[in-house]
Symmetry: C2
């Protein structure tokens, strides 16, 4: 399936590959900075040059879809075309030249697609969504994962840059005027309630990438938290440099350099109006919203039951046909985790438990690269494919637990500045657990059905009960891999086996 997003700034054709109920994946993409809204603010009309660029791009996108024999093509036109006097003329011209049945998306529908993207790529239950496009801004209010209310305003990054910061203008007065304009329009609707807020759209993605680089963090933007203070520092920096240099700021796309300052000020004003100290970033947006509507069409609203779980299972299914072994490693790991908590040897924590589960489901995906060093390849695949619903630190930890499921002394060095204070200990104990679970399940056949823990004389005994077959591989492997857990909990660890 392909979604064509005819935005005010860039147009994008994104192709999704999927197997219903199994997995989905972004498989191809073409992007063109059509900038259809160029000059629209002053005249209300799509100008001749942008009109021609748009027509030509539609022609190219259509040829691509026909050549690639993509079954479903959804083409969506948003704010710029929606609001232009001659928007319908452009669509008519496109329909004459191509097979694309372009649909103008209302502000309300645009917000709904944004909501579907947010609700399917973050854990937001109650809070707000912000989608900053080139032409418009959509705000959403979410309650119990449902879209409670939504509205669209003509406050997009390209439009506001043209109106308030023309020709790279960046003086304090102009910025203040833009800020005031935004506050005035959305102030009543947002009402400084505070709480959680998620941002989407190209402006937000670029600002997140730039904020991460400034903070010395190397990670995907998905799930990153932009603090309002960090955003305002970035705005000061952008305003102090000539417009031509803004596109060279690490994280900012060159063809967005002339509208990034305007977009950043709009975002800052929205955060002020909403009373938000920080914004969570999702890299998904309108296009994924339209995709989810198809992919999850058996649900109403089309939402994953549990975003984190769906992300983990999606990634696992992309690499492995049968998750029997993975589920069993997870079961044994969680039994050990809970057993250690019962013995008072670790502080139980739902988040840690979920990270352990996720790593168990993904620990072997690296064999798709090569059996040798597959634990390292699993780390690479997890980090690079990403896991929507988890923040960059959590993705990093899951990748590290998978990394250390076989070998090596756990180190959180790879987390860099994302590491929190006790993450070293956390990683050691979770790696110690998965390493043993993997060995209990070494022959991949659920020979060891369950593990129980007991403690006496300062020793911890893991009693592995045999569910079927011969436990010798499991016990032999586990005994030579118990050191890590022992050192993590500072106890001698013994492995015993008995018939189940």
């Amino acid at each position: 399936m392909a979604v064509i997003d005819m935005g005010s700034n860039s147009w994008r054709l994104v192709v999704y590959g999927y197997e219903p109920g199994q997995f989905w994946q972004h498989v191809d993409e073409i992007r063109e900075a059509v900038r259809v809204s160029e000059g629209i603010e002053a005249t209300g009309r799509i100008q001749d040059e942008p009109f021609d660029r748009a027509l030509h791009t539609a022609h190219v996108f259509n040829a691509f879809c026909e050549a690639s024999r993509i079954r479903d093509v959804v083409a969506l036109a948003t704010s710029a075309i929606r609001d232009a006097e001659n928007g319908e003329d452009l669509l008519e011209a496109i329909r004459e030249d191509t097979a694309l049945d372009v649909r103008i998306v209302s502000g309300r529908d645009e917000a709904r697609y944004g909501y579907l993207a947010i609700a399917n790529s973050t854990t937001l239950e109650d809070g707000f969504g912000i989608d900053i496009g080139g032409g418009s801004v959509q705000l959403m209010r979410v309650r119990g994962r449902e879209l409670e209310d939504a509205e669209s305003w003509p406050l997009g990054a390209v439009r506001m840059s043209e109106a308030f910061l023309p020709d790279g203008e960046s003086g304090g007065k102009a910025i203040k005027a833009l800020r005031k304009h935004v506050l005035k329009q959305v102030g009543d609707w947002l009402g400084e309630e505070g709480g959680r807020v998620v941002g989407i759209g190209g402006t937000v993605r670029n600002l997140a990438d730039a904020a991460e680089r400034r903070a010395g963090i190397e990670a995907e933007a998905q799930g990153y938290l932009i603090e309002r203070d960090a955003l305002d520092d970035l705005i000061d920096d952008l305003a102090s440099m000539p417009v031509a240099k803004r596109g060279n700021v690490p994280g900012i796309k060159p063809d967005r350099g002339d509208v990034i300052l305007g977009g950043a000020v709009v975002l800052s004003a929205l955060m002020e109006a909403g009373g938000f100290d920080a914004l969570e970033v999702s890299e998904e947006g309108l296009r994924e919203g339209a995709f989810f509507e198809l992919f999850l069409d058996d649900r109403d609203p089309p939402l994953f039951d549990d975003v984190r779980q769906a992300a983990v299972i999606n990634l696992a299914n992309r690499y492995e046909g049968d998750l029997h072994h993975q589920h069993h490693v997870a079961k044994l790991s969680l039994e050990m985790y809970d057993g250690l908590a019962d013995l008072g040897l670790l502080e139980p924590d739902d988040d840690d438990r979920e990270l352990l589960w996720a790593a168990c489901m993904l620990h072997d995906i690296g064999t798709a690269v090569d059996y040798d060093d597959h634990h390292k390849h699993s780390q690479y695949l997890i980090l690079n494919a990403g896991l929507p619903g988890f923040d960059p630190r959590e993705v990093g930890l899951i990748a590290l637990i998978a990394r250390y499921h076989r070998k090596g002394d756990p180190s959180v060095e790879d987390l860099g500045k994302l590491a929190k204070k006790r993450d070293g200990e956390r990683l050691e104990v979770l790696s110690g657990i998965i390493r043993l679970a993997e060995q209990f399940e070494r022959s991949r056949d659920c020979t060891i059905g369950a593990v129980q823990l007991a403690q006496s004389n300062g020793k911890v005994t893991l009693e592995a009960s045999t569910a079927n077959g011969d436990p010798s591989v499991a016990i032999w492997s586990a005994r030579r891999n118990a050191d890590l857990l022992g050192s993590a909990i500072d106890r001698e660890v013994e492995i015993e086996s008995h018939a189940g």
Copy 2:
């Protein structure tokens, strides 16, 4: 299919996944340092402790095979068991306890498996093969890719270490005596003919890893060339340190520390006897030989027609179901390569042409990780999965050409010390070509059937002929990606399209 290799030093169970005619891949492995030959040199018999370790390991391996429901299990016992007085007693005990039908491999058969591994993982046509095991050494003479002659000697690393360098002995006299012993036994057979020689087995792999680290090279050992001088430096170093430290030398496995010096001296003596200045390394061996016998059982001898081509196609098939697009990118790339050579704009070179072809076949495998940055993921997958038949520099170049097929300024920095003098220019022109071929084939449907080159007034024109459909995507994409090739050949590059 699983191969169990009951060697004199370590025992290994390796599982291969495969689809006949499509791909094969190493999917699991268990290794145990059984050291069955311990004490055998003095007594001629497998001692009680190694006997018990062997029996227990066989039990574990058998349980693994049963649990994993592996269809074909081939269990092979080599030199130590073959030569021990009570070798047959051990096998009898194993047969009683397990379902393993262990076969004692004769020296001649062991050499044949080594030959199959070498002939299917290197480009050796004429030359020698050396397989250093724990108990025995096999030498092979290869002519026209056929095994012309082979012989086995009881000169393995464990056996020679026990006989000549007991208890970590490393004095010059003892080393000299070992060297003399080897030369005397194999001197007549090898006869200082020189030429190409390929080495296999754990000793060779460890020495190659150690030699690479000393040379500051980070790469797989496959295809690496160990110079005799570098080997002799390594021997001096190993001899100068206490035996307990030898297993800590980067590249040497800890449980091989006490026999690595003996193995290195044996190798050095074999190179002297054969008049070889350098040894090519293959990471494949007896186990892969046994696997290829099954995988290629429709051929006699069971050999790939072209090892490099087979390695590239194998890797491509592991990640993609249909190679139509890849073959077409390769075709267009080679047309441009040959066209540039005809115009005198590059020096034609068969090796470069083959690297370009390989990169074309593999440029998109990174989409298995994620569409975003898939060019970087392709580089990672190629480097880590490896390509038998290519040396580490060539694998690095293929990975870099794939890396730069979409974006970025080509740099050979990642090659590190493997880079040769003109590799920067080489990478630029090959990346410039693949980048254009990928754009001509942007819609993945062979719209552009062929490319012809012409030169006039210092401009190079690429004439793209349309084979079917609408060439607008191809031409639009190619025009915006012609800069790299232009700069590589120092010419303006124009893209023209005409009906085919």
